[in-house]
C-alpha cells in the first residue's frame, strides 16, 4: 500500500523544504533510514493548465510557454521524459485533486517567491503521483519572444519549475551579490539555480550542462549510463568531513561545468553524468544563496573554508566511477 504525502518546494528566490531532502541535483525523500529519489514512473506526465490569465499573458499564451518548457526538458537526448497537456481547468494549482495543475495564484505574502512546485509522492517508492506549479500573480509576467524589460519570462521560470516537477533540486552553479536584504544573480550556469535572472532576461529558456546532467541522472537512457561516468570522494578539513561543500567538476576539453554537494558529515560526494575524460575539481563553500535553498534547515553546513582547486586531474572512466578523491580545504 502506498503512503502518500504532500510536500512543497518553493521554486525561485526562496525555497522552504518540508519533507524532502536536497540530494545531488535530485530531490529525495526519507523512507526509514534511507533516502529515495523522487521521480515519475509513468509517462507521459499528464498536466492541466489553469484557465486564468494575468496582465500581459493570456491563459493560452501561458500554456504555450509551459508547453515549450516541457519540450525543452524532453528534448534532452540522454534522458527519457514526456508529457501531455490534457486541457484547461478552472482548478487552481496546489489543490489535492489527483491532477497536476500549472497556473497562477495570488500570493502577495510571498513577495520573494516567483513560483513554486508541490508534489504528492509515494513515500515508499519515491514515485511522484501528482505535482502542481504555481506562478505568483504578484509579479509582472511576459511570454514575449524576446522578453519584456521589467517582466519575468514565463518560459524561463517554467523551465526551472518543471525541473523540480521532474525531481531535480537546486544547483549552486552561480555567483550572487547582496542587494539590500536579498541577493542578485551576477551569473549562473544552471536553470536550476535558485535565484532567477533579472526581469526581461530570457537566458534560462535553454538548459545548461548541469541541468542536462541532472535530468540524465534521474531519467538517463541505458546507453547514456554506459557512456558516462562519475567522480566520488570526500571533502575534508583538518582530517574531518565537510558538510554542505559545493564541488564543481570542470571539463577542460568542453568547458562544461557540473556541480555536486557533500551531503553528510563525513564529507562524501558523488558527481554523476560526466563525460569520460579528464576533469578539474574545485570546491567552495555554499555562500551564493540561502543554505535553505539547497538543504534541509536542520543540516549544519560548514561555510568556514576558502575555495580551492584539487591538484590532481581526475579522469572519469566510461561507465564507471573515479573514486577515492580527497579534496582538502583549509579554514578561512
Amino acid at each position: 500500500m502506498r503512503r502518500l504525502v504532500a510536500v512543497s518546494l518553493a521554486g525561485l528566490i526562496a525555497w522552504v523544504c518540508v519533507e524532502p531532502l536536497a540530494a545531488y541535483l535530485k530531490i529525495g525523500t526519507r523512507v526509514g533510514t534511507r533516502t529515495v529519489n523522487l521521480r515519475w514512473r509513468d509517462f507521459p506526465i499528464r498536466y492541466f493548465v489553469t484557465n486564468r490569465g494575468v496582465d500581459g499573458v493570456t491563459a493560452a499564451q501561458f500554456q504555450s510557454a509551459v508547453n515549450r518548457a516541457f519540450n525543452t526538458w524532453h528534448a534532452v537526448e540522454t534522458a527519457q521524459t514526456s508529457s501531455e497537456f490534457v486541457g484547461f481547468t478552472p482548478a487552481p494549482p496546489f489543490d489535492d485533486d489527483d491532477m497536476s495543475v500549472i497556473g497562477y495564484l495570488d500570493r502577495p505574502g510571498q513577495n520573494r517567491t516567483l513560483a513554486a512546485t508541490t508534489f504528492l509522492i509515494d513515500t515508499v517508492s519515491g514515485e511522484i503521483v501528482e505535482s502542481d506549479i504555481f506562478f505568483n500573480t504578484s509579479f509582472p509576467w511576459s511570454t514575449a519572444e524576446s522578453g519584456v524589460t521589467g517582466r519575468y519570462d514565463v518560459e524561463s521560470i517554467a523551465l526551472h519549475e518543471i525541473g523540480h516537477l521532474l525531481g531535480l533540486s537546486h544547483s549552486a552553479l552561480g555567483e550572487t551579490e547582496l542587494v539590500g536584504s536579498g541577493r542578485r544573480v551576477i551569473a549562473a550556469e544552471a536553470v536550476m539555480f535558485p535565484i532567477a535572472f533579472s526581469p526581461g532576461n530570457i537566458s534560462d529558456r535553454a538548459l545548461k550542462a548541469d541541468d542536462i546532467a541532472g535530468i540524465s541522472d534521474v531519467y538517463g537512457t541505458s546507453a547514456f549510463s554506459r557512456a558516462s561516468g562519475s567522480i566520488s570522494g570526500r571533502v575534508t578539513k583538518n582530517g574531518s568531513g565537510v558538510q554542505g561543500a559545493h564541488i564543481i567538476a570542470f571539463n577542460p576539453r568542453t568547458g562544461r561545468l557540473i556541480g555536486g554537494f557533500t551531503q553528510s558529515a563525513d564529507g562524501n560526494f558523488v558527481i554523476a553524468s560526466l563525460d569520460p575524460g579528464p576533469h578539474v575539481l574545485r570546491v567552495e563553500p555554499l555562500d551564493d544563496g540561502d543554505v535553505e535553498s539547497f538543504f534541509d534547515s536542520s543540516m549544519t553546513v560548514d561555510l568556514d573554508f576558502g575555495a580551492r582547486f584539487h591538484d590532481r586531474v581526475v579522469t572519469v572512466p566510461r561507465g564507471g566511477d573515479a573514486n577515492g578523491v580527497e579534496l582538502r580545504v583549509m579554514p578561512k
Binding site: G174, G306, A322
Partner: protein
Amino acid sequence: MAAAALSLSWLTAGVAGAQPRPAPQAGQHRGVWEVGGGVVYLAGYDLGERAAELTRNSTSTSVGSFEQFSSDSRITAVPGLQARLGYYLTDGLVIEGGFRFLRPVLRIRLTGDTENAPDTSAEETLSQYVVEGSAVWHILPLAFAGGRGVPFLTGGAGYLRELHEGDELVETGTTYHVGGGLKYWFGASRRVGVRGDAGVSFRDGGFDFEEELRPVPTAGASIVFAF
C-alpha cells in the same frame, strides 16, 4: 615500462638466434636485419585555454559571459623508450616495425578564480604506447666516412594507445610520421652503430582536446645492430 622491456628482450633473443652473416658494407645491405633500441623525446604541446564560464545576468551595462576561472592545458615534453626491428629490402630501403613507450604529463594551469582559490597546476600522468611501421630510405649517394655514415629519410604510420592515470580510460588513435636522420656504423664489422633521428609525428585521435591532426616534434637516439 614492462612492455618496453619485454619487447627489447624479445628482439635480443632474435639477434642471438640469427645466423652469422658477412659484415655489411656500404651500399650492400640487401637481406640484412637491423635491430635497435634507445630513447625517444616527445616535444610538449599546448591543448589550449578554456574558461569556466557562467551566463551573465545581462543588464544594460554588462553583457556576455562571466569567467569564474580559466584553464590552460598542456602536455609536457617527456623522454621515453623505443625499439625497432628492420629488414633491408634493397641496399637502401628498409621496412621496419617499432614500438614506443612514453609517460607524458597532462598539466592544467588554473588561474583567476573569482573567489580567490589559489592558482593551481593540476596534473595527471598518461601512459602512451605506439606501435608503428615505417619505410626508411637510405640516401646512399650522401654516405660519408667510407660508408659508415648514412643519412636517411623515413615515414610511416602507427597505432596509438593512451591510458589515463589509474588505467581506467583508454583513448586510441593513429599516428603518421615523417622525418630523417643519420646512422653511423662502428668497427670493421659495421654491425654496431648509432642512429639519430628527428621528425614530426601527426596524431589523429588518442587523448586530445581537438579533433584535428596534431603535429608533434619528436627526436630519438638508438644503438643499432645489423645481422
